[in-house]
């Protein structure tokens, strides 16, 4: 495929534990164009974060290990890079923001220092230049009185403010890709909306591509063009936002959408939830990993693991059954 900014192929990540090898990411493939915003959704523990961390060699190793796959960024395979080479990519061309703004900052260093670090490391700025730039960056993400606040410590900021600082820190070197790992999950709803608006504004100003990891389908709808749904380390459905919401083709996606509260529904309806928990895979399954929780499951689902198939234009799903009709494809 031409002009892909990021091209992940067959990425597999495993964790060695005392109970056996956990297959956390099982051969995912993903293409990201310049300036595109992609949503990755799924329940907790389905491999969303791990797949992104794997790509940047940020998973703790041991026990984690990327066992297969390639991740081409500007023509170079990130997974084949030495630690030193990938270090120059991290924070300068691909940045991450993390879920918990409470624990993601170093409590004993000032905010100014922490935001300045990528500037000094990647752009060779000295302290003075970096400090000036930090004030601009904090201004950009809406921290008032940035000049005074650079000497404050993380605990002196609220959660939302911290997440703003986190964004400033990630965007310091004008990366081409921003990976947002559930950045709004730990925030309350009004702050969530502010942060999303901020990211949208900065995306339009700076033009970076975004991979937005979340379990909130509502957030993705307002932000991304394209969505992939992840389950048990597999991509199980991939489509444009409109197509996915209008015509979900995987029972899991259907379940996720069904568990969203809707403004337009009858107030008496109770929220639907999907029974059970996602499985922890100790081996590559010979069946569909969602089958045990799936109301549409047929015999074939318990014998063969489906792969992503084109089910409609620009829409792929990994399911033996068409959930709209309840019949096998």
């Amino acid at each position: 495929m031409p002009d892909l900014l990021l091209d992940i192929r067959g990425l597999e990540t495993q964790f060695k534990t005392t109970n056996g090898t956990v297959h956390a990411v099982n051969g995912i493939a993903l293409g990201l164009k310049e300036g595109e915003t992609l949503g990755v959704v799924g329940e907790s523990g389905c491999g969303k974060s791990v797949s992104m961390l794997s790509m940047l060699k940020l998973i703790p190793s041991p026990p984690g290990k990327v066992t297969a796959g390639q991740a081409f960024f500007s023509g170079q395979d990130l997974l084949k890079m030495s630690n030193e080479e990938i270090r120059h990519i991290r924070g300068s061309q691909i940045s991450m923001i993390f879920q918990d703004p409470m624990t993601s900052f170093n409590p004993v260093l000032t905010i100014g220092r922490q935001v300045a670090e990528p500037l000094e490391v990647h752009m060779g700025m000295n302290r003075e230049q970096a400090t000036k730039r930090v004030i601009d960056l904090l201004d950009m993400v809406g921290i008032s009185q940035a000049k005074e606040r650079i000497n404050d410590y993380p605990h002196q900021f609220s959660g939302g403010m911290r997440q703003r600082v986190m964004i400033a820190m990630a965007l310091a070197c004008m990366p081409q890709i921003l990976i947002a790992d559930e950045p709004t999950t730990a925030l309350d709803v009004t702050i969530q909306a502010q942060i999303i608006d901020l990211v949208k504004r900065l995306r339009d100003e700076l033009g970076m591509a975004i991979i937005w990891i979340t379990h909130d389908l509502g957030i993705v709808a307002g932000l991304a063009k394209r969505v992939v749904v992840m389950y048990a380390g597999y991509f199980i459905e991939e489509a444009s936002v409109k197509e996915l919401y209008g015509n979900p083709q995987h029972p899991y996606t259907l379940g996720l959408l069904g568990s969203l509260p809707r403004m337009d529904s009858d107030q008496r309806n109770r929220l639907v939830s999907i029974d059970g928990l996602p499985p922890v895979l100790y081996e590559t399954p010979e069946y569909c990993p969602f089958a045990p929780r799936c109301q549409y499951a047929i015999e074939r689902c318990r014998q063969e693991n489906p792969s992503l198939q084109v089910v409609a234009p620009d829409h792929r799903a990994a399911c033996w059954v068409d959930p709209q009709t309840g019949r096998a494809r």
Binding site: L53, L56, L58, P60, N83, R87, H88, I89, R90, G91, S92, S95, M96, F98, D100, T103, S104, F105, N106, P107, V108, L109, E117, P118, V121, H122, Y153, H155, M166, M169
Partner: protein, 351 residues
């Protein structure tokens, strides 16, 4: 912060009252007295001695007298005498009056000395030795722990932890003679016994002759005393650093593209030092006071032996003095630790 420190200093008096009460009660409850001998002294002699040191008074009177002499500052017009009963640690001439404070009493055993003499002559030596031992413990222990943590489960880790196990399990009573034989007798690098500084001390504490003449006496005993503690520090540093590198903000630091060196030294180390600093306080107090074995092996005129011999001799004032010294040292050391906390972690503020 200032108010906090003042509050903690006042708190020392409470500690002294409690510790002195318990110690006083215990030492009088134990059988035997300062003048019990295998070959009993004549009754008349004991009667005279008991009268001289007020040992015939009821216990509550003895105790209140002691606390009054130690804790309450005296302002008098009588000039100090040379009597052993009248030796104050702090004695300042304010024109016609004298400000005098902290009379810990005479030693019953060393007839010509007071507890304050011991503090003046022997405590500085122990303090110097203990401080150097602590410095050695930190200088060896922290790098060893950091190295072990960074190279976890490699030969460096195992080697570092093996050295640390060795340090803990070989006490000064074994290590001391080995050092004496190797570096004192065989190689003749250092003198085998003695101490390089004599009273009077600078500020009542520091040697006046900082130089080889001083340090050649200090190196071996400091190592013998400090090595065991360095092992404790190494283990703690390793465990704490391993814990810290699992924190989210370390992942953030890596995601920023910092070098491993910056991640560890800039982000992890300061956070991981807090538990290490915590034990440095009690460790310092223990190293300054618990030097009996080391001082005996190296023939050092410190005060370690008074902690032991005062108890076997029932030398009441020395028992009280040494125990109170230990308690006060401990409180001061912990106060220092708390102040260092506030420096290490900006979330900690006292008011």
């Amino acid at each position: 912060m200032g108010r906090y420190i003042i509050r903690r200093l006042i708190y020392i008096f409470v500690v002294v009252i409690f510790v002195s009460l318990i110690t006083f009660g215990l030492m009088h409850a134990v059988p035997g007295g300062p003048f019990s001998r295998e070959k009993a002294l004549p009754k008349e002699t004991i009667a005279i001695l008991n009268a001289r040191y007020h040992l015939d008074d009821p216990l509550w009177k003895q105790y209140t007298h002691y606390v009054y002499e130690v804790l309450v500052p005296h302002i008098t017009t009588t000039p100090p005498t040379t009597s052993l009963m009248d030796d104050y640690l702090i004695s300042v001439n304010l024109g016609p009056t004298w400000f005098r404070w902290m009379n810990f009493g005479p030693s019953y055993r060393s007839r010509s000395r007071t507890v304050n003499d011991i503090f003046r002559d022997n405590l500085p030596v122990s303090a110097q030795l203990g401080t150097m031992a602590l410095v050695i413990a930190i200088l060896i222990g922290m790098p060893l722990g950091i190295m072990a943590a960074l190279k976890q489960n490699t030969i460096f880790d195992y080697l570092g932890m093996a050295i640390s196990i060795f340090g803990v399990s070989v006490p000064a009573i074994v290590l001391g003679p080995i050092l004496v034989w190797l570096f004192g007798v065989a190689l003749q690098w250092f003198p085998v016994t003695g101490w390089g500084a004599k009273p009077p001390y600078l500020l009542g504490l520091l040697p006046t002759n900082f130089g080889w003449d001083y340090f050649k006496y200090a190196i071996m005993p400091s190592v013998a005393l400090g090595l065991g503690s360095s092992a404790v520090i190494a283990r703690l540093t390793r465990a704490s650093l391993l814990q810290t590198v699992r924190e989210d903000y370390i992942r953030t630091a890596r995601a920023k593209g910092l070098t491993e060196r910056m991640v560890i030294l800039g982000h992890a180390l300061k956070n991981s030092l807090i538990p290490v600093v915590t034990i440095l306080g009690p460790l310092f107090a223990a190293l300054v006071t618990g030097t009996f074995v080391t001082e005996t092996i190296f023939g050092i005129p410190g005060m370690g032996r008074y902690f032991i011999t005062s108890i076997t001799n029932r030398d009441y004032p020395v028992i009280m003095g040494t125990i109170l010294l230990y308690a006060v040292l401990l409180v001061f050391a912990n106060l220092a630790v708390d102040i260092v906390y506030a420096y290490l972690d900006p979330r900690i503020r006292y008011d």
